[in-house]
Amino acid sequence: MGLESIYGEILNEHNLRPSHRGNISGATIRLEGKNPTCGDDIYLELKVGEDGIIEDGAFSGSGCAISQASVDIMLDMIIGESKERALELCGKFMGMIHGKATEDDLDDLDEAAALKDISHMPARVKCAVLGWHTMEEMLKNRESEGHARGEHEYCTTE
């Protein structure tokens, strides 16, 4: 069921040695994302420029390897990109997690495609999407709140 392919080199590397764990200066949006059912809890910070480019980002908090690696991979991919591009990747990632990604989508998702087999592990879907869902919420609905330190809870109904 793809266990070895999930807990492979990419996921373990991002979990054990994340590039974006911590805080950034000049963050323009912060949001806490939670999975109340399993206790995963992350703080995501983004610095979005006037031109809509995501200049920097970081995460903190705690959770399982899948949630931690997934958010680290996500930050690798969206830093330097426009908000629109980040949301496009988010849409593709959600599609992949629900088993609906094309080969092109998987190419586009780059390292995040390492999480493709989560679609066969329904109990772990919410771990994989926590960071992405939090980012989507920030960029779609919370940006106007600026520095407001919000919190949202995300539970999938499987």
């Binding site: 069921m1 266990l3 070895e4 999930i6 807990y7 080199e9 373990n12 590397e13 979990n15 054990l16 059912t37 399993c38 206790g39 995963d40 705690s62 959770g63 399982c64 390897a65 899948i66 592990m121 109990a123 772990r124 771990c127």
Partner: protein, 405 residues
Amino acid sequence: MTENRFKKDFPIFDNVPCVYLDSAATAQRPAQVIEAQKRFYETMNANPLRGLYELSIAATDAYEEARICVRDFINAADEAEIIFTRNATESLNLVAYSYGLNFLHEGDEIVTTVMEHHSNMLPWQMVAEKTGAKLIYLEPDMDGIFSREELDRKITERCKLIAITHVSNVFGCVNPVKELADRVHRNKGVIVVDGAQSVPHMKVDVRELGADFLAFSGHKLMAPFGIGVCYGRRELLEAMPPFLTGGEMIEYVKLDGATWAELPHKFEAGTVNPAGAYGLKAAIEYLQGVGFDYIRETEDRLTARIFEEFSKLPYMHVYGSKDPANHSGITAFTIDGVHPHDISSILDADKVNIRAGHHCAQPLMEYLKVGNTARASLYLYNDDEDIDRFIESVKKVRGIMGYGA
């Protein structure tokens, strides 16, 4: 290696071969219970307690015989003290709403513990908030033991209700219910015992324990889902108003009010679950056939094996007592650097089923300063092979997660 002579009674292990180590969440069911439930629906099915025809009387008899079986099982004085509910959570809510809200007042103290399952914590938070009674939490040491000083300091003469789990679903320790009952009875208060984790594993005698209320679920002792028990001492139940109102719990109804049915029906509003009760009786009979001595011996021996194997692995941590005999078959553990959900997924790939998470005991997890733990919990059908496969799978976890070779 000792062969488990009861495993063959459980059809799930033929249909879905797996190592099942999550019995503290729910037990597997033997064929005898599954057959009993089927027999009820095939030969006795009607709405009990209402119909005046033979079939309904058969259903009523099945239901009431189950009540007598439960009475004897926990050594209650009277079958009127056995109220059927859906599960332990509903039983505890019944006591909180019907007893707590009506008999506790501002100035009283409710004593509970930080190791409670949410189902024996949230109802008392509600009662405290609505009545003005003060809620006090006992804190155990890291073995799950409450010191004498802790009990002396926190159980004052104002304590009118103690709500405590008999066996912790995380530590597996057995709490000193009898001693606490004596303490609260000196104040003319009551003790509410959550027996969800004890009743399936050890002889529980409500009179010997001094329990005024005892709640447990059928499904953790191999009965069908959806049947539970609330035991209450008769004089307390008689003084309490109904928890839910509606059909079957009335004596006489007029447009401006009603009088309540006799115990236990006063607390069983609406159509009851006779098939579940009948299945619960079959489960209790099965359990008695196995015997608590066998259960205790099996759980302790296999838990000791888990502890011994874990002690060879420096990255493993077990919560609670160092003595496996104090765990009631429950081992809560963590692995350095690996989140419990990842442990559970890796074990799942080897068809080893454990629980990972906060075990509905978030305050205890905070108290232990651990976000989550993994938990293996045993029951009478587990055997040495289960433990071999569990340990083998646990040993693979750190390697899969990228630690070392």
